[in-house]
Structures are given as C-alpha cells and as structure tokens.
Amino acid sequence: MGVAKEAVRATASGGPDIAMPECEAAGTLPVRQTRRKVLPIVEGLTLAVAILLPLVLQDYLTVFATRVIILSLFALSFDLVWGYAGIMSFGQALFFGSAGYGVALLARDLEITAIFLVLPAAALIGLIFSLLLGGFLLLGRYPSSVIFVALGTLTGSYAADRLARGWYYLGGQNGIPSISPMTLGSAEITEGPVYYYLALGILVVVYLLCRFLVRSQFGLALAGLRENEQRIAFFGYKAQHLKAIVFAVGGAIAGLAGGLYAFHEGFVWPNMLGVVISTQVVLYVLFGGSGTLIGAVIGAIIIEGVSFYLSDNYRDVWPIILGVLLLLVILFRPLGLISFVLGERERVGSFGRKPKGRRHAAP
C-alpha cells in the first residue's frame, strides 16, 4: 500500500497545484495500512476450524457438520447473487432442489453415481434453471425491480415445490428415498469424514473462485451495479447482462450444493425446492453479513450450530430463541455479524492495479 500511495503522490505532484486543505488530513498513512487485514484472518480461522473439526467431533456430529458445510456452499451462491449483484433471489432453493432431484433421478433410473458425472450434472442443472429463470426475470426491456425479482424467484421456488409434491414420477410427497451412494471408481463415498472433506474441498475451491471473481474488474462492475444500476448503464455497461451472468453462476453453485446434499442425505424430498429453505439461505447470509462471501459461510455455520444446540437443550422454546436472536442481529447489525470486525472500506475493497513494488513513473 505504501508504494502505491507514493506512486499516487508522485503522479499528483505533476499536476497543477490548487489549495485543497482536506488532502493533508486524508493522507494519514498508518490508518490505511492497518485496516486491510481483517478479512484474510477471518477466512483463515474459519478454514482452520473447519479442517480440524472432524478430528474432535463424534461421528454423528461429523455428519451434521458435513450438512452445514454443504449449506454453507448453498449460502455462498445466495451471497454472490444478493451481496454482489443486488439480485434478491428468494427462490434460490429452486436450483438447489432441482439439482438434487436431477442427480437422484440419475442415480435411480440410470444408475449413474460416479462423482465426476453427478456433481458436474448438478451444477449444470442449476445453471440451466437459473439461466431460464434469470433470462425471464432480469433481461426485460427495462431493469427489473428488486420486488419483481424477489416475487418471481419466490414463485418459481413455490411452484417447483408444489409440482414435485404432485408428480408421481418424482415420488410425490415422499420424494425419492434411498439414493445409492456417490462413487469414485469402485469406492463408495458415504457420510462421515470422507464426505466431510470432499464437501469442504469443494467449498474451498468454489469460495476461491467466487473470491477471484468478485475482486476482479468484473467485481468492480458489480460494485457499481449494486450501488447505482442506472449510473453504470450510462457508462455503457450492459447492466442486465451482468446480473443475468451472476444469477446463472449462483444457480450453478446452488445446484452443486444440491447435488452434494442429495447424496449426503441419501434422499430428496419436495421441501428441498421450497420456500422454507429459500428463506433459510437468505437468513444465513443476512445474519453472517452479505457481500463478504465469508459472512455467508459463518452465517450458515452459526445458525445451524445454534439451532442444533438449542433444539437439544431447550426442546420446546428453541425456535423462539433462534427467531429473537436473528431479529436482534438483523435489526442492530444490518451488515451482519461480520461487521463487528470488518469495516466498510475493507468490505467494499479496492480493485485497482495491485502495487508490485514498481514505482509509477511521474509524468
């Protein structure tokens, strides 16, 4: 940072001089250097905990933790869509569930369970459904409102849920039970530490891809998009296309999570498509802190962890406690739990050329 700052000053001194008293005050370097560090620490800690967790957990808890990791992946998809592109997808479970049903059908009817086929298929199903729905909701003549998109996606999710309940081929109310396990060669991948690390590995890879995307120049375009869509259209951006692309990427990630979830649980059922899970994922992200990626993961872990603990210890009143907790956070920390440690400037980030120790030539 120091180097960049120096470069900036070098360039600035070449320009015409005008008295601007604010400049001196803003040039305080130490503040700037210390405030860039929080996010990698939070990410590293979360990863360390996630890696060590199965070593200390009993087996049945590892199974639970695997479910949480998969839900974190699902939450990531919503954060990308809402936190970065400002698309309120209230029906993200549509992609999660349809991919789950898709791989369940592959396993049941075609006996395809190979991991290198079913997981790409799951992502592809999510991608296709989100392209179709996104094309319809986002690519109209005029930019669509948040409410329109929220209701459109919600309706899609609800409709899919009802459709699955009434469709005999999909098992109706009962869904598709006892899906055979995912396979790698002749080995079966069943619930437990192996599945846990598989899910964690996928989460880390997808997380890094998302992180790459949101910090690229494309991420800068998204930052402009969510702050002022109309403004960036006047720069010449195809704002609606950008949104549709992110929506599709989010759909693919949700689909991947759905595929993992279906094989982990061993069955799929209509709730997986429905409004409840769609809302749950919104809560994960708002609770943890949207527009940070890691907030989505933390939100999913904490909400699921706390629900698990409460439902064990306060069997009757736990939903009320959880509800109040969620309300408190969303009312008093609208930017989520992560905002306790993460400042606004770091959350938004900067997108310019990274300093490489090379001095910028002054004109």
Binding site: M20, A223, I232, A233, G236, R345, F351, G352, R353
Partner: protein, 244 residues
C-alpha cells in the same frame, strides 16, 4: 452536419407538457449552453438526449445516426456521456475505482473477469485524476470528498470513455465561487476532442465557457445563437426580467 441534432422534441408527463417542440443542434467541438428559467424544460431535454427519458415525439440524431430509440447503454457506446444533476459518484468506492469503473465500461466480459485491462488502464486513471486535481485522494472513498470535488470526479468519470459529446447538467450546483472558476478551467482543455452541452443557472459561468447558447422557455426554444447575440436579445432579457 452537426454532431448532435434534436428536433421537434415533445415530452408529456401526464397533463404536464415539459417540452413542446424543443430543438437543439451542437457542432463538433462546440460548447453549447442551455439556459432558461426554472421549469423551462432544460433537464428534461438533456434526459431525452441522453436516453434517460423517451421523448413523446421528435427525433434525436447523433453522429449521423438516428438514436431516438436507443437505450442509454447504446448511446454511451456511440460516444455520448451524461453527468447527472445530482452527483452520483459511487460513494463507497475509492476515487481510483470510480474512474476505473468508468474507463473499463467497454472492456469485454473476459477482460473484466480476468482483470486484463487493469494494468493498461492504470495510467489513464491516474492522468484523469491528475487532470481533475484529485490524484492524491486516489485511495479515499468518494464519499469523503467535498461537494465540489465530487462534481469534478463525476465530470472526470463522464469523460473517461472519451465521449464525443458530454452532457453536463448543472455542474457547478452548490459550488463556491473559487470552485466554479476551477471547474471552468478544468473544462476548457476537453474542447479539443469533445463537444459539450451544459445546463447551468450561473449565467456568468455559461458566458465564460460557451460558444453558443439556446434559451428555453416553457418547453420551447426562445432563441438560439452566439453568446453575443443572446446577450443582445430583447426577448431573452424579458423572460429573465419577468421572473426576477
């Protein structure tokens, strides 16, 4: 052949006729002032030209092409740029990123995803910031700028895509006298490669910077001509006196 030619522009909002056959022609590298009393339709005409509003009737031609039906994005890509009346810099982004955002608008999707133009645009970002005297604030959030500086940043962003026509809606609104003077200085150099349409209440500012003026009154063109012609015009003096 003028660079921009808007003819017979009518814009009706419900019962209100904001524009009633307004017209505007701007030549290459001309600074054209759009003046008139409050409610005369200046901003509406700007919006119709930029594509923020669709005119009810009339046509807009730009670089020998009928752009009446084009979207703002398509107009921007054809070389037209608008600075809004209300500053709309992106407050949480740094100044640097605000300019980069404007500069990279026409990069391809893959270039954006793999950040391929970040390096090549760096010098342009810094020279825009230097030109508008904001270079030493490059890494600060735009929200921390003074109002006048935000206007400059906004003008810099509007100029980033090397437009052939820049539409400025009240660039000096809320500025101090000193800031107005500097704004005038900042705008002069762009004349070599860009035409300007400027809506402004400050008539002194307009007189200093513009080549030609168009006076609107009640949605119609009252008068159009060089600054000297307009200053001598009886009917223009009348409408300003009438309001005063």
């Amino acid at each position: 052949m003028p660079l921009l030619e808007a003819a017979g522009i009518v814009k009706v909002f419900g019962k209100l006729t904001a524009l009633d056959g307004a017209a505007l022609a701007v030549a290459e590298n001309e600074f054209h002032g759009l003046i008139g009393p409050n409610g005369s339709g200046k901003s509406t005409l700007m919006k119709c030209i930029a594509g923020a509003e669709q005119p009810t009737h009339g046509s807009v031609r730009f670089v020998n092409q009928d752009i009446t039906a084009l979207s703002p994005t398509e107009r921007a890509r054809a070389g037209m740029s608008l600075k809004f009346q209300i500053t709309s810099v992106l407050p949480t982004l740094t100044l640097y990123d605000n300019i980069l955002l404007a500069l990279q608008a026409q990069s391809s999707l893959l270039d954006l995803v793999f950040s391929r133009t970040r390096g090549t645009l760096h010098d342009q970002v810094m020279s825009m910031l230097t030109q508008f005297r904001l270079a030493d604030r490059a890494q600060d959030a735009a929200a921390t700028l003074s109002h006048g500086q935000q206007q400059w940043l906004e003008i810099a962003m509007a100029l980033a895509g090397k437009p052939r026509l820049l539409l400025l809606d009240e660039p000096t609104g809320g500025m101090s006298l000193e800031e107005r003077r500097v704004t005038g200085e900042l705008l002069q150099p762009i004349k070599q490669h860009c035409s300007l349409v400027i809506v402004e209440h400050d008539l002194d500012f307009i007189r200093d910077i513009c080549d030609r003026l168009t006076v609107l009154d009640q949605g119609r063109v009252l008068e159009s001509g060089t600054v000297a012609e307009i200053q001598a015009s009886k009917s223009v003096q009348e409408i300003y006196l009438r309001r005063a």
